[in-house]
Symmetry: C2
Subunit: 169 residues, 2 copies
Amino acid sequence: MITTVRRRARATAGPTARGDGAGATVGLGMLAELIGYHVRLAQMAVFADFERALGALSLSPGLFGLLVIVEANPGLRQTQLADAARLDRSTLVPALDKLESRDLVERRAAPDDRRSNGLFLTAQGATLLAQAKRAVRAHEKRIAAELGEGDRATLIELLDRLAPGGRRP
Amino acid sequence: MITTVRRRARATAGPTARGDGAGATVGLGMLAELIGYHVRLAQMAVFADFERALGALSLSPGLFGLLVIVEANPGLRQTQLADAARLDRSTLVPALDKLESRDLVERRAAPDDRRSNGLFLTAQGATLLAQAKRAVRAHEKRIAAELGEGDRATLIELLDRLAPGGRRP
């Protein structure tokens, strides 16, 4: 039965097929068998929704992630933020510059070590992040609605197996 | 018990923690609860392995994907390729230029429509793609080894629910 369905799908393919099915009628060769292909499509779909959710606040998923980590760890060092966000220095520095120039994040002496500067949200950063979190919670609800609670947990568990260190201590 | 484990993990965190745990000791706030965060980490891990596998052939995952689709659909139009690869024109054109300048892909009259040019692999492109596919199969085996066959199918099914049109006709 599955074979029949597949054969029919292929019969509609061809150079004259309209492209409005986002390539559904064009053969994907071995791509469709690759885990990475499906992970990438899911990531693009989820990030597109995420970006729509945060667009009005001019925050990318990456900038949002940095704000969340800084809020959760006041006084964090730049190198620690890079590790936690899994960014290399050349990606982190311009992102942090952007957040500082928008007066969302600031560097100042950390309470526990006055010799070196830590990162903190500004009041404006905290306000924007609170708004952003509300938008992200709505986004997450939309995404999770495709799955249901049990499947959501299963998906996260399986994804974490692909990303060593994703959740492990 | 889980609470105890979490508390212990948090107790080791702090500004003096070394960054070699890739941020494991830095709190991630709400990020860890977001499906997009786990999808993104998995995508980065899978693509990093993919890139290592293809690095010797100077192929990115994106270029590899284009070669696979062109091979599976000889004579494909550029707009159809963009749809199938889910790329917009501004991303596809430079990628195709790269493949043409490396003599891996060529444009010529398609057998079914001599008025317009279709995309084809060159002999050199077909040879390189055959090598690349072997490397990608080894990559896929490494990735799938983290999952097992049943969980692999489950993961793909759940990911496709997040990416509308991922597999649906």
